[in-house]
Symmetry: C2
Subunit: 103 residues, 2 copies
């Protein structure tokens, strides 16, 4: 559907893209991780989107991937906060960010 | 106001009381911590309350305490997930639970 294409376009348009909910502390944690690394992620706060599409994207992301936040690096789906933290601990996050030109 | 009195009554009615939102992973984490300790908390999922009071209690708790989840033990406010985890790490959580008859 059109909403999934919109998510795909937004996800590919910047090096690091986070689909987030502004009041959620898991989302806060993953934003903070990137900012502490000196990375400036593009963040879509889906609950603050004035048009209906924020709510539609949130529902589509939860349906497709299971939960919010959802992180893309270099246009590729990385996943939720747990997966980003696991990548970081295993040493694969920094190379991913470098490849995407975010570091 | 009446909503704060209602929170107070519910908080004092059981040994461990958690005001939660069903889809929130911070709330999930604090519920899991207690259940792993063999404690059976009384959980109010404010977003699932069929009457308006769930929403009102959520707003009152965020206004008074700052965020969800909010944990009471033995009728006394302990606080959010971070504070419960800090209590546990410092060794004060188990004595609190014992005093309240939850362990
Ligand atoms: N394990 C996930 C947890 C994500 C999660 O549970 N997100 C919640 C909000 S904190 C969510 O999307 N809830 C909406 C739903 O489940 O419908 C992570 O690491 O990010
Ligand atoms: N440090 C707090 C974080 C709690 C928190 O940020 N809760 C969020 C949901 S995860 C909340 O209440 N958001 C609603 C709001 O801020 O208005 C904890 O340890 O529990
Ligand atoms: S809404 Fe609470 S951690 Fe996401």
């Amino acid at each position: 559907p059109a909403i999934v294409e919109r998510i795909g376009r937004l996800a590919a348009a910047n090096a690091v893209v986070i689909f987030s909910i502004s009041t959620c502390s898991m989302c806060h944690a993953v934003k903070k991780l990137f900012r502490n690394m000196g990375v400036n992620p593009t963040v879509y706060e889906l609950d603050e989107d004035p048009s209906r599409s924020g709510r539609e994207m949130e529902r589509a992301l939860i349906g497709l991937i299971g939960a919010i936040p959802v992180v893309f690096i270099g246009g590729k789906l990385v996943g939720d906060t747990d997966r980003v933290m696991a990548c970081h601990i295993s040493g694969t996050l920094v190379p991913l960010l470098k490849d995407a030109g975010a570091l």
